[in-house]
C-alpha cells in the first residue's frame, strides 16, 4: 500500500512537470499570431521532413529490404544505431535548453516523497520528451520510405519497437553516467558540478558514438555475431525473436541480464544523487574592483556576468571538450581558413545569451542613470572580449605552425562580425527562462529565412573578393544599427 502511494506521488510529480511545460508553452504562445506562426513552422517541418526523410532513407530502406528476416534485421541494426545517435543528440539539446526544474526540485525536497521517486518524477518526463522526439524523427525519416517499399505493418512495428527500446536503454545509460559523474564531482567539491557532469556525459556518449561508427559496417556484415554493444542493443529483441532464421549467436539470458543491469545501474545512480541542495557559484574576477567611471564599471560587470554565468560555463566546457576531440580525431588546425571561421563562430555563441542576462535589470539601469546606448556598447564590448578569450584558447588548441597565424588574425574579423550579428540576434530574440526553446527556435527560423535568401542573392550576383568584403561590412553595420534600434525598443518597453 505504501509503495502504491509512493508510485502515485511519482506520477503526480511527472504530471506536474508536464503541466509546467504546457503552461509555459501556453504563456509563450499567448497571441493568435504566435499560434499561427508556430503551427506554420510545425506543418512546414513535417511536410519537408517527410519529403526529405523519404529522399534520404528510401535508398537505404530499399537496399536493406529483400524480403527475408536477415534483411529486416540489418535495417533494425541500422535504425538502432540511428536511434542511439539521435538520443545522444536530443539529450544534449534538451539538457542545454530544458526548462529549469530546480524550483520544482526545491519545493519537493521537503515533501513526503522518497528521494528516488522525487528524482524519477522529474527525470522520467524529461526522458519521455526525448524519446518522443526521437520516435517522431524516426517515423518522419523512415516511415514514408517503408510505406513506398510496401513493408508490412508487422515489420514496421518491429523496427519502431526496437528503435524505441534502443532509445530508452541509451537514455538510461546516459542518465546513469550523468548521475555517477554528479556523485563524483559533488564529493570532489567541484563548482558547477551539475553542468560539468552534464558535459562529461554528453562528451563521453559522443565519443562512444564516434568510436562505434567505425565498426558500423562490421555490425552489418558480421550480424550473426551479436556483440551486446549499447549502440545497437535495441536490435537484440529482434535478433532473439528470429534467432533460428538469422542464426544470430545471441544468448537471451546474457541479453536480459545486460538490460536488467542497465536498469538497476540507472536506479542505483539516481538514488545516490542527493547533492543538488548546495549551490557552489564561481567567483571569477572577484578582485576586479568597480571604478567611478560608469562605462568601465558596466563593462567590468558584463565580463563578471559572462564568466560566472552557469549556462556560459556549460557551453564553454562543451566547446572546449568538443574542440579537443575534433583536434585529436580529425587533426584540424589553424592552417585552414574554414576551421578558423568555425572557431570564430563557435567562440561567439555565448553572445546570444548576453542580452537576456540583463533584461530584468533594465529598470535598475534606468534608476542608475545609464543610457540605452551605453548599455548596448558595454554589453557588446564585454561579450566581444569574452568571445575573444575563448577564440584565443581555441586557436591555441588548434595551433600547428606559425603559417596558420595569418588565418587566426584574419579570423578576428569574423569574430567581430559574428559577435555583432549574434548580439543583434540575442536582442531580437532574447532567451526566455520559462520557454528556453523559444530562443533556439526563433534563431533557427531567422537562419532558415536568411540563409536561402543569402544563397539566392549570391547566386544572382556572384561576388568577387571586394564584393564579399562589402557584404561582410554591410552585415556588420546592419547588425549594429539593428542592435541599437532593438535595444532602444526593449529599453522603453521595460516600464
Amino acid at each position: 500500500m505504501k509503495e502504491v502511494n509512493e508510485l502515485k506521488k511519482l506520477l503526480l510529480v511527472c504530471n506536474i512537470y508536464q503541466k509546467i511545460l504546457s503552461n509555459n508553452l501556453k504563456k509563450f504562445l499567448d497571441t493568435a499570431t504566435k499560434k499561427i506562426i508556430a503551427a506554420s513552422i510545425i506543418i512546414c517541418v513535417l511536410v519537408f521532413g517527410v519529403i526529405g526523410g523519404y529522399l534520404l532513407s528510401n535508398e537505404v530502406v530499399s537496399l536493406f529490404l529483400s524480403g527475408d528476416a536477415s534483411s529486416v534485421y540489418l535495417l533494425v541494426i541500422s535504425q538502432s544505431l540511428t536511434a542511439f545517435i539521435m538520443t545522444v543528440a536530443f539529450f544534449a539539446v534538451f539538457s542545454f535548453i530544458s526548462s529549469d526544474s530546480s524550483t520544482l526540485e526545491q519545493v519537493l525536497s521537503w515533501m513526503p516523497i522518497k528521494n528516488i521517486y522525487r528524482k524519477l518524477g522529474i527525470i522520467l518526463p524529461q526522458m519521455l520528451n526525448i524519446i518522443m522526439c526521437v520516435m517522431i524523427l524516426m517515423i518522419i525519416l523512415y516511415l514514408p520510405a517503408m510505406f513506398v517499399n510496401q513493408v508490412s505493418i508487422g515489420v514496421i512495428l518491429t523496427v519502431l519497437a526496437s528503435s524505441f527500446i534502443q532509445s530508452v536503454l541509451s537514455l538510461l545509460l546516459i542518465e546513469t553516467f550523468y548521475h555517477i559523474f554528479v556523485f563524483i564531482t559533488y564529493h570532489l567539491h567541484i563548482p558547477y558540478f551539475l553542468n560539468i557532469s552534464l558535459s562529461f556525459s554528453i562528451i563521453l556518449s559522443s565519443l562512444y558514438v564516434f568510436m562505434q561508427l567505425k565498426n558500423y559496417s562490421e555490425y552489418l556484415t558480421d550480424y550473426q555475431a551479436y556483440s551486446y554493444q549499447p549502440i545497437y542493443i535495441g536490435s537484440g529483441i529482434y535478433a532473439m525473436l528470429f534467432r533460428k532464421q538469422l542464426s544470430v549467436s545471441i544468448n537471451p539470458l546474457i541479453y536480459f541480464l545486460i538490460v536488467a543491469g542497465i536498469i538497476a545501474a540507472f536506479l542505483l545512480a539516481v538514488s545516490t544523487d542527493r547533492s543538488k541542495c548546495e549551490q557552489r557559484p564561481l567567483k571569477f574576477l572577484q578582485n576586479w574592483r568597480f571604478t567611478s567611471n560608469k562605462a568601465q564599471t558596466l563593462l567590468m560587470k558584463e565580463l563578471k556576468f559572462n564568466v560566472r554565468n552557469e549556462d556560459n560555463f556549460l557551453l564553454i566546457l562543451l566547446i572546449l571538450l568538443a574542440a579537443i576531440l575534433c583536434r585529436i580525431k580529425f587533426g584540424f588546425n589553424t592552417e585552414n581558413l574554414t576551421v578558423v571561421i568555425v572557431l570564430a563562430a563557435v567562440s561567439t555563441l555565448p553572445v546570444f545569451n548576453s542580452y537576456s542576462l540583463d533584461l530584468k535589470y533594465i529598470r535598475l539601469y534606468k534608476q542608475l542613470g545609464v543610457s540605452p546606448l551605453l548599455l548596448y556598447v558595454t554589453k557588446l564590448l564585454g561579450a566581444l572580449i569574452y568571445s575573444a578569450f575563448i577564440y584565443i584558447i581555441l586557436n591555441m588548441i588548434y595551433f600547428s605552425s606559425f603559417n596558420g597565424l595569418k588565418y587566426s588574425l584574419l579570423g578576428v574579423i569574423f569574430l567581430l562580425v559574428f559577435s555583432v550579428s549574434f548580439n543583434f540576434m540575442g536582442i531580437l530574440i532574447p532567451k526566455n527562462p520559462e520557454v528556453p526553446t523559444a530562443q533556439a527556435a526563433g534563431i533557427i527560423t531567422v537562419l532558415l529565412i536568411i540563409l536561402p535568401l543569402f544563397y539566392v542573392f549570391t547566386r544572382i550576383i556572384p561576388l568577387n573578393h571586394a564584393g564579399k568584403i562589402v557584404l561582410t561590412a554591410c552585415v556588420f553595420i546592419c547588425s549594429i544599427i539593428g542592435g541599437i534600434w532593438m535595444n532602444q525598443k526593449r529599453w522603453y518597453k521595460a516600464e
Binding site: 505504501k2 502511494n5 509512493e6 506521488k9 503526480l12 506536474i16 503541466k19 509546467i20 503552461n23 509555459n24 504563456k27 524550483t103 520544482l104 526545491q106 519545493v107 519537493l108 525536497s109 521537503w110 515533501m111 513526503p112 516523497i113 522518497k114 559533488y186 567539491h189 542527493r274 541542495c277 548546495e278 557552489r280 520559462e434
Partner: protein
C-alpha cells in the same frame, strides 16, 4: 515532540552552518528562533526539513527520525524565499501540495482561501503574484495540510496588516488544536505576543533560550529586541553600532 540533538552542519566549502545545536519542542508550543543574518537559522530549518544532510547529531519528531517519509508527512513548511512553482496557477499549486501530502479537506481549504482573500487570484498563474500573495498561498498550503508541526520562515514578511492579524489568530487556533510551530523571524516585538519560547542563535550556536520574560530578566532588558542585541550581537558590537551611527 521535536528533538534536535547536537546537530552540526559543515558545508563542503568548509563553512560551519550550525554547531552542536540542541532544542526540544513540546506539543502545542510555538518556538521562535532568532538570530542575526547568517547566524544559521535557515541551515537549522533545512536540516530539520531534511533538505540538506546534517554532518552530525540527530533530529526526530514524535519518535520518527528525520528523513523518514512519515516524519516529512508530519511537517509543513513556509519558506522565506517564497519558493513556488511559478508556472502553475494558485489553484493547481494548492491541489499539487494536497495530493503530495494526501490530504483533501475541502472545507478547511476554502476557509483558508477566504481568510487570506485569495478567491479571486487562484486562477492566475503564480508568476503574476505579488510577494504578499505568494506568501499567502504558502500559508494556505501549510495550514491546510493539518500537519503536527509547521515551520515558518519569516511568515509575516510582505503580508498586509489584515493578513498578519489573521495569521496570528490562525496560529493560536492551530496551537490550541495541538499543533506546534517552529518559526524564524526578525520581528521580535510582534513575536513576543504569540511565541511561548525563544531560541537565540549566533554564529551557528545556541546563545540563549527561554520564555520572553525569562530572557528579559536574564539580560536585564525591557523588550526582546534588547535581549537580542545583548545576547546574540554581543555588547561590544552593540556599542560599536552606537559609535558608527554617532559618527555618521
Amino acid at each position: 515532540m521535536l528533538k534536535i540533538e547536537n546537530v552540526t552542519k559543515k558545508y563542503s566549502n568548509g563553512i560551519t552552518g550550525i554547531e552542536n545545536f540542541s532544542l526540544s519542542m513540546a506539543d502545542s508550543e510555538i518556538v521562535c528562533i532568532a538570530g542575526p543574518n547568517g547566524s544559521g537559522k535557515t541551515t537549522l530549518i533545512n536540516c530539520v526539513l531534511d533538505v540538506i544532510p546534517m554532518t552530525s547529531g540527530s533530529i526526530s519528531f514524535n519518535g520518527l527520525p528525520c528523513g523518514k517519509e512519515e516524519y516529512k508527512q508530519s511537517i509543513a513548511y513556509v519558506a522565506d524565499e517564497t519558493i513556488l512553482i511559478d508556472s502553475l496557477s494558485g489553484e493547481e499549486y494548492i491541489d499539487f501540495i494536497s495530493a503530495m501530502y494526501g490530504k483533501h479537506d475541502e472545507v478547511k481549504r476554502n476557509s483558508l482561501i477566504e481568510l487570506f482573500s485569495m478567491q479571486g487570484a487562484l486562477k492566475q498563474i503564480v508568476s503574476t503574484y505579488s510577494h504578499g500573495m505568494r506568501k499567502k498561498l504558502q500559508l494556505i498550503c501549510a495550514f491546510m495540510l493539518e500537519c503536527k508541526l509547521i515551520i515558518l520562515d519569516e511568515p509575516t514578511r510582505g503580508l498586509d496588516v489584515e493578513s498578519i492579524v489573521s495569521l496570528k489568530k490562525l496560529m493560536k487556533k492551530y496551537q490550541a488544536a495541538g499543533g506546534s510551530i517552529l518559526m524564524s523571524t526578525h520581528n521580535l516585538s510582534a513575536a513576543e505576543s504569540y511565541c511561548d519560547r525563544f531560541s537565540i542563535i549566533s554564529g551557528g550556536a545556541l546563545i540563549a533560550e527561554g520564555t520572553a520574560e525569562e530572557l528579559k530578566s536574564r539580560y536585564d532588558a525591557d523588550n526582546m529586541e534588547e535581549v537580542f542585541m545583548k545576547s546574540s550581537v554581543l555588547s561590544e558590537r552593540s556599542e560599536r553600532i552606537e559609535e558608527i551611527i554617532a559618527g555618521m
